[in-house]
Symmetry: C2
Subunit: 118 residues, 2 copies
DNA sequence: TTCGATGTTCAATGAACTTCGAACGATGAA
DNA sequence: TTCATCGTTCGAAGTTCATTGAACATCGAA
């Protein structure tokens, strides 16, 4: 990410591989991706990571701007999904391999999903 | 080796996925890996990147310490190879997917191999 | 309208990273 | 021995990044 990639907010479609790797090299962000890897939508507050909410917001923005996730707003709530189709379209097989590696190893284990325990 | 090194200079075997992704998120380093991707050994000076030699040395050290490459010394010369076997062992299929992605896209195109044009 | 909850943005800080030139040690050649 | 080459290490400069609390905007509920 040391390139002159100063794109404020391109649609996405133009994510370079180094940039994508940089985005996913953060344990928290990789953990988020791992949680979202089943394709299901998650509520913002459902994402449980050991960081301040401003930090979590920053990471989600980073993922969003890199085209990794999509955020849907509904009232005051946000819902996040993994854009697996878009990623597979740009880098076929890569996300799958990354998720396999993430599962094999540890990876972002501190990012969990907040289950509603009755 | 130096006393300035607070780094966990473990053999390697302990490379986390986020760290590996961070190492490969640099265009120059990814370019080096791409050049080495055929498995053949390359001479240090054969690696042609638009950076100072001290910078190139730094990047090669980073790759080496992450277990991505191996450096063999012979006299004053160094020879670098990609440790595909070790990487495949730790993260099966990942390197292959990354190289495919690197080939699909651009990636580190400014790192080339110095062909001996006599 | 007023209140509470939800996320985002801002400004600041410290750590980590990239980059370079200069200096250095090691090796092979003259 | 003397010299040139090769690659590493050092020191410094500048940049990027993760992180935080506070302030803010928005929306639903009361």
């Amino acid at each position: 990410m040391s390139d002159h990639d100063h794109r404020p907010a391109r649609p996405d479609a133009e994510v370079t591989l180094p940039r994508l790797l940089g985005v996913l090299s953060d344990p928290t962000r990789l953990g988020i991706v791992r949680v979202l890897s089943d394709g299901a939508e998650r509520g913002w507050g459902q994402l449980c990571a050991p960081v301040a909410k401003s930090t979590l917001s920053h990471h989600l923005k980073t993922l969003r701007e890199a085209g990794v996730t999509r955020t849907r707003q509904e009232g005051t709530r946000c819902y996040v999904t993994l854009r697996r189709d878009a990623l597979d379209d740009r880098f076929p097989g890569l996300l799958s391999a990354l998720l396999d590696a993430a599962a094999t190893d540890y990876v972002g284990a501190h990012v969990t999903e907040l289950t509603k325990d009755t």
